[in-house]
Amino acid sequence: MDYNQSEAKSNAKNGKKNVYAVITGIIAGIVNGLFGGGGGMIVVPMLIKLLDCPPKKAHATALLIILPLSIVSGIIYAVFGSLNLRIGTPVGIGVIAGGVLGAFLLSKLSAKWVVIIFSAVMAGAGIKMLFF
């Protein structure tokens, strides 16, 4: 009896988690396709809060989730004719070089101040794009 009850409980919990997972996927997918980025910033907190993923693992796991979405969205944008390789090629080279430096800096800088400055820059850019 006890065994059945705890089994039923754990099944219900798993069912709930699956629903959370599907909701996370739908929101991340719409954001990724509609805005061409930013999906990771939504998946990370959802993995932590809804699916009990530890923060460090959440960042790594979010990459695995966003990568296939970005490939699918990227192909669709390219088919729609939005991709411009004359801009995309130099940007891509820069991203790789910057990415290596960023991964190295991650262990050197205080993340606290980077996040605060980054948030302020994002808000400023958002206001400029929304209103001007």
């Binding site: 988690k17 699956n18 997972a21 599907v22 996370t24 996927g25 929101i27 997918g29 719409i30 990724n32 396709g33 509609l34 805005f35 061409g36 980025g37 930013g38 907190p45 699916l51 693992k57 960042h59 790594a60 990459l63 989730i65 979405l69 970005s70 490939i71 969205s73 990227g74 944008y77 390219a78 729609f80 939005s82 991709l83 801009i87 995309g88 130099p90 940007v91 820069g94 991203v95 790789i96 070089a97 910057g98 990415g99 430096l101 960023g102 190295f104 991650l106 606290k112 980077v114 996040v115 605060i116 980054f118 948030s119 302020a120 994002m122 850019a125 958002g126 794009m129 929304l130 209103f131």
Partner: protein, 125 residues
């Protein structure tokens, strides 16, 4: 010369991306505000531009056993359908309208990120 400027834009956002902080959310406004790139083009470049870096980062995370596979499939499958829908919604919008929506999205993200970080700082003190 333009080639160099575009490389610099990629470099700056790559630094943030490498630190795991959504480099795309800075590359798109950078291209849109300072380089006058169309919103759809900026988003397409962001989607493709970060793929090589993500692959390298993922390999490192795999090796460090930091990837949690438990719910991944249940997230990716509906996510793929949703992202196709998102792409079509984006195509239906003009560049100007999409840019405004993106601006609103950035403001929401930045407030959310700031609140989360301030909570973390409070917890540590």
């Amino acid at each position: 010369m333009r080639f160099l400027w575009y490389t610099i834009a990629g470099f700056l956002s790559g630094i943030l991306g490498g630190m795991g902080m959504g480099g795309g959310t800075i590359l798109i406004p950078l291209l849109s505000i300072f380089y006058k790139t169309g919103q759809h083009t900026a988003q397409a470049i962001n989607l493709i531009g970060f793929i090589p870096m993500s692959v390298v980062a993922l390999i490192i995370h795999f090796k460090n056993k930091l990837v949690d596979f438990k719910h991944v499939l249940m997230i990716i499958l509906p996510g793929v359908f949703a992202c196709v829908l998102g792409c079509y919604i984006a195509r239906a919008m003009s560049g100007d309208l999409l840019k405004r929506f993106f601006g609103g999205f950035l403001i929401i993200l930045s407030v959310f990120q700031l609140v989360t970080e301030l909570k973390n700082i409070k917890k540590q003190n």
